[in-house]
C-alpha cells in the first residue's frame, strides 16, 4: 500500500506557482502525444528486434521478416549462440577488452585527474594545457595507424585498448569533481601524515562514487561499442569482438555465425532470428547499465563540460 501511495504521489504534479496560468487541454495533449511519440520512436525498433530474436522459426517465416507481435516465445536462438562457437568467443573477447580497458582507463584517468586537481602545483598548468590541446587537433588516422603497426601492437588486444585509452574530456570531468571536494578534508589527512596516494584512495575516491560510476560507464560503453580499431588492427577472425561479428553477420550479408550455418541450412534455426539475437546480446549490457547511472549524468556532464 505504501508503495502505491508513493507511486501516486510521484505521478501527481507538484503545485504550480500562482502566477502560472493552468495548462490548456490542447497544449497538454500535444505535449503528451509528442513525448509518447518520441519514446515510441526509441523503444519501437528495440521491441521489434527483441521480439524477433525470441520468436521461433515458423513464426518468423510466416511473418516473412521482423516480428512485431510476440507469439510462442523461445530462447533457442540464444541457447544456440551461447553454447560455444563464434559468437560466444566474440562475447568473451568483448567482455574481456571492456573490463580490462575500463579498469586501465579509469586508473590512469583518476590518477591524472587527481594529479592535476591542485591549482598551483608544479607543472599543473603546463600538463593541463598539453592535455587540452589534444582536444583541438586529431593526430590523424594514417600516422596513428603507422605508429600502432610499428609498435608491434597489431594482432594484439592492446591495440584495442592503448590508442584510445585516454579521454581528456573524462579526465576534465573527474578533475572538476575532485576540485569541488572540500580541501579541509585532504588537508587534515595530510597533517596526519597521509601521502597523496593514500588521500586519493581513502578520501577522494569514496567521496566521488557517483562521478566515478558515470565515467566508468562512458569508458565501458566506448570499449564495448568500438569496432573500428579491431577492423584495422586485427587480422585474426578468432580475435574479433562482438560488434565486428555483428557487422559480418548483418552488413556483409553472412547468414549465420560459423558453427550455426548448418542449423540454418537444414531449417532448424532462422538466420534472421539469430542475427537479431546477436544484436540483443550486443545491446543488453549498455541498456542495463545506463539507467543505473543516468541520474548522475547531468551533474557529471555539467561540472566538466561547461565550466571545464
Amino acid at each position: 500500500m505504501s508503495l502505491n501511495t508513493q507511486l501516486i504521489r510521484s505521478l501527481k504534479a507538484p503545485a504550480r506557482p500562482v502566477w502560472e496560468e493552468p495548462p490548456s487541454k490542447a497544449g497538454l495533449t500535444a505535449k503528451g502525444g509528442f513525448l509518447v511519440l518520441c519514446c515510441l520512436g526509441v523503444l519501437g525498433p528495440l521491441w521489434i528486434v527483441i521480439v524477433t530474436s525470441l520468436s521461433p522459426k515458423p513464426v518468423i517465416d510466416e511473418v516473412g521478416g521482423l516480428v512485431v507481435i510476440p507469439q510462442g516465445i523461445t530462447f533457442v536462438n540464444y541457447t544456440e549462440l551461447l553454447s560455444g562457437g563464434q559468437v560466444s568467443r566474440a562475447i568473451m573477447v568483448s567482455v574481456g577488452v571492456t573490463l580490462a580497458g575500463t579498469l586501465f582507463s579509469m586508473t590512469v584517468s583518476v590518477l591524472a585527474a587527481y594529479g592535476l586537481s591542485r591549482p598551483g602545483s608544479l607543472g599543473h598548468r603546463f600538463f593541463l594545457m598539453a592535455m587540452m590541446a589534444t582536444m583541438f587537433f586529431g593526430a590523424g588516422l594514417i600516422p596513428t595507424y603507422l605508429l600502432v603497426q610499428s609498435l608491434g601492437l597489431t594482432d594484439t588486444y592492446l591495440s584495442l585498448i592503448l590508442p584510445s585509452a585516454v579521454s581528456v574530456f573524462n579526465i576534465l570531468v573527474l578533475r572538476a569533481f575532485f576540485m569541488g571536494i572540500s580541501p579541509e578534508l585532504t588537508e587534515s589527512a595530510r597533517i596526519d601524515g597521509a601521502g597523496e596516494m593514500r588521500i586519493l584512495l581513502t578520501i577522494i575516491v569514496p567521496l566521488s562514487r557517483a562521478v566515478l560510476a558515470v565515467i566508468s560507464l562512458f569508458y565501458a560503453v566506448g570499449y564495448w561499442s568500438a569496432w573500428f580499431n579491431a577492423s584495422i588492427y586485427l587480422n585474426d577472425q578468432e580475435m574479433m569482438p562482438l560488434q565486428n561479428v555483428l557487422i559480418q553477420l548483418v552488413q556483409k550479408n553472412t547468414e549465420a555465425p560459423t558453427g550455426l550455418q548448418q542449423a540454418v541450412r537444414t531449417g532448424q534455426l532462422s538466420a534472421l532470428g539469430l542475427q537479431m539475437a546477436v544484436m540483443v546480446l550486443a545491446l543488453i549490457p549498455v541498456a542495463v547499465a545506463s539507467p543505473f547511472v543516468q541520474r548522475h549524468f547531468k551533474k557529471g556532464m555539467l561540472t566538466g563540460a561547461i565550466k571545464g
Partner: protein
C-alpha cells in the same frame, strides 16, 4: 611523503585563471594562506615545489605518456604527407620515415586535382549543413518540452528512454535502421502487402544524406538535451514570475526568458559543431559505404581510410588528413572569433 616546510598545498600561488569550481577551493583556503602568499608570491623555489608536488606529477605521468605516444608522436608522423612514404623501405614503419624520399607538396597538389577528393569534400559539406539544419534544433526543442513537464516521474522516465540510444554502437543503430527501413525491412514489406511498390531506403543514394541525419537524430538527439536542461534549470523562477507580473503569457515568457537563457549554450555548441564540420561522423559512413556506394557515402574521413589503409597510399591519405585537420583548427578559431563578435563567450575566453 614527509611533511616539509613547503609541503602544504595552500602555500602556492593562486591560479592565474580562476574557474568557477576552483573559486570555491581558492576561497576556502584563502584565509590561512594570505600572509604567506604576499610574502613570497610565486617565489617557492623549484626544488621545494618539486619535492612537494612530485607525487602529483608521478600520478599525472601515465596519461601524459599515453597522450605523448598516441597523440603527439603521430602528429609528427604527419611528415609522411610531404614524402613518398614506403613502409617497406625499412624493417620498421617508424624508421621507414627516415628513408623515404621527400616530395614537398606534391601530395597536396595531387589532392587538388583529384575529383574523388572534391566529391568527398562536397559530401562532407552537404552532410554538415543538413545536420546543422535538421539535427541541431532537435535537442533544443526536446529540452523545452521536457522542461515544461512538471511531474518528476514522467520526466525521469522520458529522459531515461531518450538517453538510451546514445549508448548503442553505430553498428547497432545502422543495423536497426537496415532491418526496419531496408529492402527486406518491415516498412517495405508492410507497404508491399498493401499494394504499394517496395522501396529500399538503405541503398538509395539520393536519400542517403537524409537517412544518416535521421540515424544521427535517433542516436544522439536525446543525449543532447542534457546540457540544455541544465541551462534551463539554472534559470531563476523570479525572472518568470516578474515576466508574468508584467503580463507576459506562456509564449512571451519562453521568448524573453527561456530562450535568452539558452543563448550562451547554443552559441557554445554551435562553435563546437562548426569546428567539427569536417568530421560529420566516420563510423556511420564506413558501415554503410558498401550499401550505397562511395559516391554518396564518401566523406573526408572515409576517404582517408580508403586511400591510406585500404589502398596503402599512406602519404596521400596523410596529406588529405592533415589538410582536413588544419582546416578544422581554422574553423574552430574562426567560429570562436565569431562568437566573441556576437558577445558570447565561445569555447575559450578572449
Amino acid at each position: 611523503m614527509s611533511l616539509t616546510a613547503g609541503s602544504r598545498p595552500d602555500g602556492t600561488r593562486p591560479a592565474a585563471v580562476v574557474e568557477e569550481p576552483r573559486a570555491a577551493v581558492a576561497g576556502a583556503t584563502a584565509k590561512e594562506s594570505v600572509p604567506r602568499r604576499t610574502a613570497k608570491a610565486g617565489k617557492v623555489p623549484f626544488r621545494v615545489r618539486w619535492r612537494r608536488d612530485r607525487a602529483l606529477i608521478l600520478m599525472t605521468s601515465p596519461v601524459i605518456a599515453l597522450l605523448l605516444l598516441f597523440n603527439y608522436v603521430p602528429l609528427l608522423g604527419n611528415v609522411v604527407a610531404f614524402q613518398d612514404y614506403d613502409p617497406y623501405v625499412s624493417s620498421n614503419g617508424i624508421t621507414a620515415v627516415f628513408h623515404s624520399p621527400w616530395v614537398g607538396v606534391e601530395q597536396f597538389s595531387r589532392m587538388f586535382d583529384d575529383p574523388l577528393f572534391w566529391s568527398a569534400t562536397k559530401n562532407t559539406i552537404v552532410l554538415f549543413v543538413l545536420q546543422l539544419v535538421l539535427f541541431f534544433p532537435v535537442p533544443i526543442a526536446l529540452a523545452l518540452v521536457i522542461n515544461s513537464v512538471i511531474r518528476p516521474r514522467v520526466r525521469a522516465v522520458a529522459q531515461a528512454i531518450m538517453y538510451l540510444p546514445h549508448f548503442f554502437s553505430w553498428v547497432l543503430v545502422v543495423t536497426v535502421f537496415q532491418q526496419i527501413l531496408g529492402g527486406a525491412g518491415i516498412i517495405a514489406q508492410t507497404l508491399e502487402e498493401h499494394g504499394w511498390s517496395g522501396f529500399d531506403l538503405m541503398t538509395d543514394a539520393d536519400l542517403f544524406k537524409y537517412l544518416v541525419t535521421a540515424q544521427a537524430v535517433w542516436k544522439d538527439a536525446g543525449w543532447g538535451i542534457i546540457v540544455f536542461l541544465a541551462a534551463l534549470s539554472a534559470v531563476s523562477t523570479d525572472l518568470y514570475e516578474a515576466a508574468a507580473m508584467d503580463g507576459a503569457g506562456r509564449w512571451r515568457r519562453m521568448w524573453h526568458v527561456t530562450l535568452p537563457a539558452l543563448r550562451p549554450v547554443i552559441a557554445l555548441l554551435l562553435v563546437l559543431r562548426v569546428g567539427d564540420a569536417l568530421s560529420v561522423g566516420f563510423e556511420q559512413f564506413l558501415l554503410q559505404r558498401d550499401a550505397v556506394g562511395a559516391g554518396a557515402s564518401e566523406v573526408l574521413d572515409t576517404y582517408v581510410w580508403n586511400m591510406g589503409i585500404q589502398n596503402g597510399d599512406f602519404s596521400y591519405a596523410a596529406a588529405v588528413g592533415l589538410a582536413k585537420g588544419l582546416i578544422g583548427v581554422c574553423l574552430v578559431l574562426g567560429a570562436n572569433k565569431f562568437a566573441h563578435l556576437l558577445g558570447e563567450q565561445g569555447v575559450y575566453k578572449k
